[in-house]
């Protein structure tokens, strides 16, 4: 039967990508339906109970600046917060939080249920309605037909999911959930490039069976950080510690002896797993000289005893899992509550997507999250948000929006995926961002709140908070420039002591703060006035001042490249017509079909000479068109 209403946007899937997509589209005023096979698992964290990490947090902050839910949900569900790289520079710092799974899910569900324009429906999607290469709707398991102007697919690892524990395997989308096989079969009929990836998860442990007294405790940071720009420490529930244990020679012995029943080492699993998140059997085999590996023991929540032993992801048979867990200190009597497993699933070559995340072959159909070959809640949520935004823009008949590589990690993520594709589950790292010094966790709000406001994603409260902070930052920067320190003054002498050399002439506070030895604490120490209480504002000003030279250099580079980034390559560009391109370059361009000259230049093997030749050809055809 046909459902009696046409939606603007239908989001298939209720994970981190799906929930952000649905919320974004609804906030932008679109009539949105979230279709999930199980309402109880909306916002489920399938793997480790943590949000953030180097590179990942940067994405969360960007989602937050664009009005997304992940940052705020983390503040309401986070049970341990730490700032990673706190002793390194601000560009590479990242706030990471352990999250209570139940609290996180509850917060997401509450947000979704209270979001105007957003409805939920529980039923798995089995088929699409496609007319003339344009998606028109979705058909559910029981044959219910939902009409939609746009559809966002966020089906995670559920497409053709196969779960492996030892040499046993069965179909599933996640432990306890069914795979989406009908949909997978349907998608395979469409003109997408599909391949298999693999990921894994460790066995969960009953905390009552673990001896914490022999484990190293890892408490959260004080003062307790927050994730969202509008978050407060008071939002946090009760805080708890994590613990650290290690594998040992005996553990490694047990693993080696179990390899003959490992699906990975016996060739049962063909999908490629992530290099940065290897299973414990991989770590032991690939780094045979290491006789111990660090294992982080993370609480799953405040109201459960279950623990997540981060670092022993495995698909070894259950008896081997039990032995290897019990070989670790503190875990001698451990009880496994859920076995670890590896999961293989379908993903779509993201080179088949536009930078709006719309598929190149089916109009108005968007893909976001693990379906695109990424891994991680943050990567999924960021794509979901973007797909939701662009589906909504499409409905409104407006141009799509995607941040550039120099504007956001979200831009790096999408550009890497659509330009280079991926051969393993793609995870964000700061080393992927060439403009790392510009893309900091402390300035995602400065980079994105304004555009978020224009898109209709940022509410009044967030907008006001942002404006107040921005104004304070600008005023303080101006004050630093206007305040002079004389060499002979008390302050000048104090500054000389801190810098280890006398001031040769008068300096502004701005100049002094630039020096590596100087920070706001030292300025206070030398008797300089600091009237601002908000540490965020001071940190922002200090970072901008200290990075100034590098920021200016990167901005110059951006200005040079921006013209190429804005030069569109026509969809039907005929690379065979371009004289002077080598066959190799031509093939690569035909494969990726870049949307802009800038994207073309980032395809490996496309030389500056090739870019010049493309530019000349473009000018020629544009001029011919103009004269025609």
């Amino acid at each position: 039967m046909n459902f009696d209403k046409q939606y603007d946007v239908i989001v298939v899937g209720g994970g981190h990508a799906g929930t952000e997509a649905a919320l974004a589209a609804a906030r932008m005023g679109c009539d949105t339906l979230l279709l999930t096979h199980n309402i109880e698992t909306l916002g489920q964290m399938s793997c480790n109970p943590a949000i953030g990490g180097i590179g990942k947090t940067h994405l969360v902050k960007e989602i937050d600046a664009l009005g997304g839910v992940m940052g705020i949900a983390t503040d309401h569900a986070g049970i341990q917060f730490r700032i990673l790289n706190s002793r390194k520079g601000p560009a590479v710092r990242a706030t990471r939080a352990q999250a209570d799974r139940q609290l996180y899910r509850a917060f997401i569900r509450q947000t979704i249920e209270n979001q105007p324009n957003l409805s939920i429906f529980q039923q798995s999607a089995d088929d699409f309605i496609i007319e003339n290469n344009r998606i028109e709707g979705v058909v559910t398991q029981m044959g219910l037909r939902f009409a939609a102007r746009t559809v966002v697919m966020t089906t995670g690892t559920f497409l053709g999911g196969v779960i492996h524990i030892g040499l046993d395997n069965y179909q599933g989308g996640r432990a306890g959930d069914p795979a989406s096989n009908a949909l997978s079969k349907r998608l395979r009929e469409l003109p997408f490039n599909i391949d298999r990836l693999k990921t894994g998860t460790p066995p969960r442990i009953d905390g009552k069976s673990v001896d914490f007294s022999v484990l190293e405790e890892q408490p959260g940071d004080t003062p307790c950080p927050v994730m969202s720009y509008v978050g407060k420490p008071q939002d946090h529930p009760q805080q708890v510690s994590c613990y650290i244990t290690h594998t040992n020679a005996k553990t490694h012995q047990i693993i080696r002896e179990g390899l003959d029943r490992s699906p990975m080492y016996t060739g049962v699993i063909e999908g490629v797993g992530p290099r940065y998140c290897p299973s414990i059997e991989d770590k032991v085999m690939r780094f045979a000289d290491k006789d111990s590996h660090q294992i982080f023991v993370e609480p799953e929540g405040l109201t459960t005893h279950e623990l997540y032993p981060n670092g022993i992801s495995t698909s070894l048979p259950f008896d081997v899992q039990l032995d290897l867990v019990r070989s670790m200190q503190g875990f001698e009597n451990a009880h496994i509550t859920r076995p670890g497993y590896a999961i293989e699933y379908d993903y779509f070559d993201p080179q088949g997507l536009k930078n709006s995340l719309e598929t190149k072959t089916v109009e108005n159909l968007y893909f976001a999250g693990q379906i695109n070959g990424t891994t991680g809640y943050e990567e999924a949520a960021a794509q979901g948000l973007l797909a939701g935004i662009n589906a909504a823009l499409q409905v409104k008949g407006k141009e799509s929006w995607t941040p550039r590589r120099d504007e956001a990690y979200l831009g790096v993520l999408v550009d890497d995926l659509i330009t280079l594709g991926t051969q393993e589950p793609y995870r964000m790292f700061t080393s992927r961002a060439e403009y790392r010094l510009l893309l900091r966790q402390d300035n995602a709000d400065i980079r994105l709140t304004e555009v978020g406001r224009q898109l209709g994603l940022v509410d009044d409260h967030r907008w006001k908070t942002f404006q107040v902070k921005q104004e304070a930052v600008e005023q303080e920067k101006q004050r630093l420039l206007d305040t002079w320190v004389q060499p002979e003054s008390e302050q000048g002498k104090a500054a000389a002591t801190i810098l280890g050399q006398p001031l040769r002439h008068e300096y502004t506070l701005h100049d002094l703060l630039k020096r590596p030895q100087m920070d706001y604490d030292k300025i206070r120490l030398m008797g300089g006035e600091v009237n601002i209480d908000d540490p965020e504002v001071l940190q922002q000003v200090e970072t901008q001042v200290k990075y100034q030279g590098y920021i200016a250099r990167q901005e110059e580079e951006i200005a040079r490249l921006i013209k190429h980034q804005q030069t569109a390559l026509p969809k039907t560009f005929d690379y065979q017509q371009v004289k002077g391109l080598s066959n190799e370059v031509r093939q690569k361009l035909e494969l990726v079909r870049p949307e802009t000259l800038g994207q073309a230049s980032r395809i490996s093997g496309v030389t500056p000479a090739a870019v010049s030749i493309l530019l000349i050809h473009l000018k020629k055809i544009n001029a011919l068109k103009a004269s025609a």
């Binding site: 180097i54 390194k88 992530p274 940065y276 010094l437 004289k579 010049s612």
Partner: protein, 461 residues
């Protein structure tokens, strides 16, 4: 925003006059000009050139020592070749002097133009007719290939090994640095111990050694490589001897006489050319000759031009077809080829001739009498781009030295940042250093870097 580019506008070699052009926005062009040209009481430090007038000026280095003297012409935008502001210097064409002027301009903030970039800008600024689009594209393509070949040649042997060793060190250092940044919980924090500092010092020492040697020029070849090939006993060695004016190759009428590669440096009207004679290609059971044929094949792959010599007097109905088939077997993509049909003196009623085909040009001549040789030397010059914008060995070398200069600056800044405890800023300098070195060694992507991290350290919670 456009950057300012500089290039030598005259062909490589030893011409009488050499022209260097700097093109870019007015402000940078003028500021470069003020430093590049000597200030005297008569010519005070201000930009006072009238467009299209000639001025006699000296080019000086940072210590005000004279590098060269000659004529300066200023072209104001848009009335110039590129449509931008251009400063042209006409000096004494020797390659060493020209290189020194080029280097000085780069020091002052100009960037070495990519091959064909002047023409590219001219085209994009509507200074060249649309009809010429393909010609410009061809120019960029061919001069880029020529530059790439020059670069490969200048990177042969010891220099190449050292550069690659340097690159390995840089990758290692970045692997340690980036692992410390991206994986702070993995017990790989090398920024907080002295490991990274030691590696950085070692890298800087190695770089200093290489720059020193490279500046002395001892490790960089000059000239284009022309490889002579073809069936046995067609007159390949005779051609080499004729061109070099020396009897350096043993010539007999026994097929397979030449077994090893013979190299001869000659100068054709100022164009330095390395002529390499190879063993005649044929099936052979003899070990020494087989080795010679193997070497010949390697030489062919590294050639800038290939001369295919055949015996035109062995003519019958199918002779030319057979020779053409052999020629096509030898052809390598993107390396220009000249087919020399030799022994014109034994052919009936034939005059020296040049016939340009799509994939090769065919010349009928006689090495024995010298008839038609000038057709060959002209064609070699033409294919070398000798009459167009030059991208010779000196430019290739300058590109490499320029890249090494930038690597050196970045490493010094990296050291400073490390000492002041800013690991992420050091990492940025190392990234820029790798980008500059990548102009010589090829691109090293962020994914390559991650690969290096994951294969070096056991990472993954």
């Amino acid at each position: 925003m456009k950057d300012t580019i500089v290039a030598i506008a005259t062909p490589p070699g030893r011409g009488g006059v050499g022209i260097i052009r700097i093109s870019g926005p007015e402000a940078t062009l003028k500021s470069i000009s003020l430093e590049l040209l000597e200030n005297t009481s008569k010519n005070p430090r201000q930009f006072s050139f009238e467009p299209r007038q000639t001025y006699f000026r000296r080019v000086v280095d940072s210590l005000n020592r004279v590098i060269d003297e000659g004529l300066v012409i200023y072209f104001a935008a848009p009335s110039s070749f590129t449509g931008e502001h251009i400063l042209e210097f006409q000096g004494h064409g020797g390659p060493v002097v020209m290189d020194a002027v080029l280097q000085r301009a780069v020091q002052l903030g100009a960037r070495l133009a990519r091959p064909g970039e002047f023409s590219e800008r001219a085209f994009l600024n509507d200074k060249i007719d649309l009809v010429q689009a393909e010609a410009i594209a061809d120019l960029i393509d061919s001069s880029s290939q020529q530059a790439a070949r020059c670069a490969v040649r200048s990177l042969q042997g010891v220099f190449s090994k050292k550069i690659h060793a340097l690159n390995e060190l840089l990758i290692l250092l970045r692997t340690y640095t980036e692992a410390s940044i991206d994986f702070p919980e993995e017990e790989v924090d090398f920024l907080s111990n002295s490991q990274v500092a030691i590696q950085l010092t070692e890298l800087m020492d190695q770089l200093a050694l290489i720059r020193n040697e490279a500046c002395q020029g001892s490790v960089i070849n000059e000239g284009i490589n022309v490889v002579i090939s073809g069936p046995p006993n067609a007159g390949k060695s005779s051609l080499l001897n004729y061109l070099s004016g020396l009897d350096s190759a043993i010539v007999t009428d026994i097929p397979g006489t030449t077994r090893d590669l013979l190299r001869e440096k000659i100068v054709i009207d100022g164009l330095p050319v390395n002529i390499i004679d190879t063993a005649g290609l044929r099936e052979s059971d003899e070990v020494v000759e087989q080795e010679g044929i193997k070497r010949a094949k390697v030489a062919l792959e590294q050639a800038d031009q290939i001369i295919f010599v055949s015996d035109g007097s062995e003519d019958n109905d199918t002779g030319d077809d057979q020779r053409l088939k052999l020629l096509q077997e030898l052809a390598i993509d993107n390396i220009p080829m000249i087919w020399v049909n030799n022994k014109l003196d034994l052919m009936a009623q034939q005059k020296p001739s040049l016939c340009v085909e799509k994939k090769f040009s065919k010349i009928c001549l006689s090495v024995k009498t010298g008839q038609g040789i000038e057709l060959l030397t002209e064609q070699i010059k033409k294919l070398a781009g000798f009459n167009e914008v030059g991208e010779g060995s000196y430019t290739a070398r300058r590109r490499h030295l320029d890249a090494l200069d930038r690597v050196s600056e970045n490493l010094q800044d990296a050291q400073m940042q490390l000492q002041s405890g800013a690991g992420e800023l050091m990492a940025e300098e190392l990234r820029l250093a790798q980008q500059a070195l990548g102009e010589i060694t090829g691109e090293f992507s962020s994914d390559d870097l991650l690969g290096s991290i994951f294969s070096s350290f056991c990472i993954g919670k």
